[in-house]
């Protein structure tokens, strides 16, 4: 075991982690621990754009953007945080441009902007061009630009280091962060990083679904590490299903395709979104569009022999426009489906895309131990976190924005905290939990296999807690997850070695997914209303009287070792917008 000491440790090197690292490296001795080489992070898969009311192409302002974000999140958004997001968006985009990001340009040479779902002029009058973009690889360009600037700033990376434990120490009843424990993939060695401040920027949890736009590596490691140490997870029942994933594969086809004029059609060729969202049509918010697609499918208007998908139609758009604005997604259709998007519509279905919930933080990125108490020295930003700027449903282009605004904020805040505070003493045997976990898996002779359990989990989640949920389906999921968690104790791996043991890491990742799936299903069961991405057929309406509040899930361990989940609730911060019925 090796022990390292850094002022600031950042867990994850996607957009949020690298944006934080650029700030904290200037201000404090910083290490970035990342399970992937930074440029492999899933920020790079984001396509359509990053929202900011630059008003480069038409009238716009940050107040409209704030409103759209809150309405998009079905009023579960903390309004103070949404205001910061929308205000700081403008500088966040300009900062990236100055760092070198090659945005698309207007004829005058300014940053060009396009339409995106849920972003509107004057509180819902009509779609507005607010998304700054770089073709349909905006996330790729953000990831590359941030990595380039990390190289420029000399950011220190520990590549292929998996953070498996968060060290939390209680001093006088106050939970404090002492550092993290990481597993080095290349050698199997365990490293303890003592740090004055730690920032989680480790991304989402989408791999507990089968049809998902998420990478294989998005297994909620950061959420799980904090949760296991008694820290809460907020709003985990809210997961976004992106309307346009490639049929059965789940690969993302950007909403920008509809922003450029693409249309969703059922088997009769009907533009069905006109029925569900008369003003915004195909550019309604993602939860609305995904439900509309499944309603079409369930009512027998789905396409294909099994009627199990609908079409994204781009055939009326000029090939030059597709080549210039949507080159990557049209290539995906050619590569994976053998379809030519110039002439043929693309079969799509909703795909599990984004966790609105996560580690609760305030607007400085400080992690909360309960509704109000901050964990000194602990921060989170990006998809791993819940600020909450996305509420019950995130608007497209607001995640690339979130990682930049709150990545920057948490990088500054964590480094400033490191400058003013001393190290927290490490607990005795800091690596104990990880060592035991690794040894148990390496030595297990159990009969359960990781891949089989993971597939059962994914199929259960797809079938029971996806776009439509009921008490019965969620209970089915809760029971199945409990069964899988029990069987997980009997999991064994074949690779017993130390060198690049991805067999071992997949087993650990499955443990994380199981813990988080349980939190998600349990939170969803208790929320007896429909709001944003959480749609309960048995409670189809939003219930502001009982559920205008954030879910806070805590892991509890009884004296006899039995684990359970305790749910609590946190009020939503409301400033200037009273909840209204949400129509597009």
């Amino acid at each position: 075991m090796q022990i390292h000491k850094y002022d600031t440790v950042i867990v994850g090197a996607g957009g949020a982690g690298m944006r934080a690292a650029i700030e904290s490296t200037k201000r404090s001795r910083t290490a970035v621990l990342t399970k992937l080489y930074p440029t492999r992070s899933h920020t790079g898969a984001a396509q359509g754009g990053m929202a900011a009311a630059l008003a480069n192409v038409e009238e716009d302002n940050w107040e409209w953007h704030t409103f759209d974000t809150i309405k998009g999140g079905d009023y579960l958004v903390d309004q103070d945080a949404a205001e910061i997001l929308a205000k700081e968006a403008i500088d966040a985009v300009l900062d990236l441009e100055k760092m070198g990001l090659p945005f698309g340009r207007t004829p005058e040479g300014k940053i060009d902007q396009r339409r995106f779902g849920g972003h509107s002029r004057n509180h819902g009058e009509a779609p507005v061009r607010r998304a700054c973009y770089s073709g349909d690889r905006t996330g790729h360009m953000i990831l590359q630009t941030l990595y380039q600037n990390c190289v420029k700033e000399g950011v220190e990376f520990f590549n292929e280091f998996y953070v498996l434990d968060q060290l939390v120490v209680e001093e006088n009843g106050v939970k404090k962060s002492a550092g993290v424990v990481a597993y080095e993939l290349a050698t199997g060695e365990i490293h303890v990083f003592q740090a004055k401040s730690v920032i989680y920027a480790s991304g989402g949890t989408g791999k507990f679904f089968k049809v998902t736009s998420n990478a294989h590596t998005l297994t909620g490691d950061g959420q799980a590490a904090c949760y296991r140490r008694g820290l809460p997870l907020e709003d985990m029942e809210f997961f976004q299903f992106h309307p346009t994933g490639i049929w059965r594969m789940g690969i993302l086809l950007t909403e920008g395709a509809r922003g450029e004029g693409g249309i969703l059609r059922n088997k009769d060729g009907e533009r069905f979104m006109e029925k569900y969202a008369p003003v915004m049509k195909d550019l309604a918010s993602r939860d609305v569009v995904s439900r509309s697609i499944y309603t079409e499918i369930r009512e027998g208007r789905g396409c294909g022999p099994e009627g199990d998908h609908v079409y994204l139609d781009l055939t009326h758009l000029p090939p030059e426009q597709l080549d210039a604005k949507l080159p990557d997604i049209t290539e995906f259709a050619r590569t994976y489906l053998g379809i030519e998007p110039y002439t043929d519509p693309i079969p799509i279905q909703p795909t599990a895309h984004y966790a609105m919930g996560g580690i609760p933080t305030n607007v400085e990125g400080e992690v909360l131990a309960d509704n109000t108490t901050v964990v000194p020295g602990l921060y989170a930003a990006g998809e791993v976190a819940c600020v909450s700027v996305h509420g019950a449903n995130r608007l497209g282009t607001n995640s690339l924005l979130d990682i930049n605004v709150f990545g920057r904020r948490s990088g500054i805040a964590a480094a400033e905290y490191s400058a003013k505070n001393d190290f927290v003493e490490l607990p005795e045997n800091p690596a104990q939990l990880v060592e035991e976990q690794v040894e148990r898996l390496r030595n297990s002779t159990g009969t359960e296999r990781v891949a089989a359990l993971r597939l059962e989990l994914q199929e259960c989640m797809d079938a029971n807690v996806m776009v439509f949920r009921t008490e019965q389906t969620i209970k089915t999921a809760v029971d199945k997850i409990a069964e899988l968690r029990a069987r997980y104790l009997d999991v064994s791996i074949q690779d017993k070695g130390k060198r690049f043991n991805t067999d071992l890491l997949e087993a650990i990742e499955l443990g994380n997914l199981l813990d988080l799936a349980e939190v998600m299903a349990t939170s969803a069961l208790a929320r007896k209303e429909s709001r944003g991405g959480h749609y309960r057929e048995d409670y189809p309406n939003r219930d502001d009287v009982n559920f205008m509040r954030h879910t806070m899930a805590y892991r509890e361990v009884a004296d006899d070792g039995t684990e359970s989940i305790r749910l609590d609730y946190k009020p939503v911060v409301t400033t200037r917008y009273q909840p209204m019925e949400r129509k597009y």
Binding site: R40, S41, H140, R248, Y294, F332
Partner: protein, 256 residues
Amino acid sequence: MATPTLEKSDKAPEAGFADTPYITATFRIRRFNPEVSDEVEWQDFEISIDPKERVLDALHKIKWEMDGTLTFRRSCAHGICGSDAMRINGKNRLACKTLIKDINPEKPITVEAIKGLTVLKDLVVDMDPFFQAYRDVMPFLVTKGNEPTRERLQSPEDRERFDDTTKCILCAACTSSCPVFWNDGQYFGPAAIVNAHRFIFDSRDEAGEQRLEILNDRDGVWRCRTTFNCTDACPRGIEVTKAIQEVKRALITRRF
């Protein structure tokens, strides 16, 4: 009630496409694990798989159902993250962007690590020299003077000038397909030059001269023998050889 699409998936739990017949394919994989043996070994795995699936799906099937020790990198699984460049039937490709039907599954499909970088285990190579060459070309925007209040202006034409080389995902398929790089690991390699090109031809950048000097080095662009392997290998369709030629031309004319 469950989501309808997914209920139907029960009928074909593993297939990407229900109407496609499964085939039997042999994957011949170059195995190496110095923790166990210094010897390299080719190992055959026979699997039943839908030919419309990806080579990555086949590798997963082998790892998950047959041999958990098989080791490779992967993440996004759709050609964006650059983790899974490997040599498939003798050509550098991304495993997640190569469909089995497109590489003649009637014969054994060979899979091995990319060349020119040290193999650490099975299909995993040491990427550090590759990223070092990238860092050496100053892969970041350099500007002088005060920053403007708003964005720097750039015409759509100037933006288009370097669009192709912004697509690079640093997968190393190009560099590890280059015979010059195989013979001499000191050569910067195509990927680093592509990333230098991305800034040299960016109208906002003011360090083109410095980058050109770096690439004028004995291990720089002049080592390129224009074999076009890199262009063929690039999974993003970047005209890599053309970009290298443009850098050479800029060095001769110092105009860019």
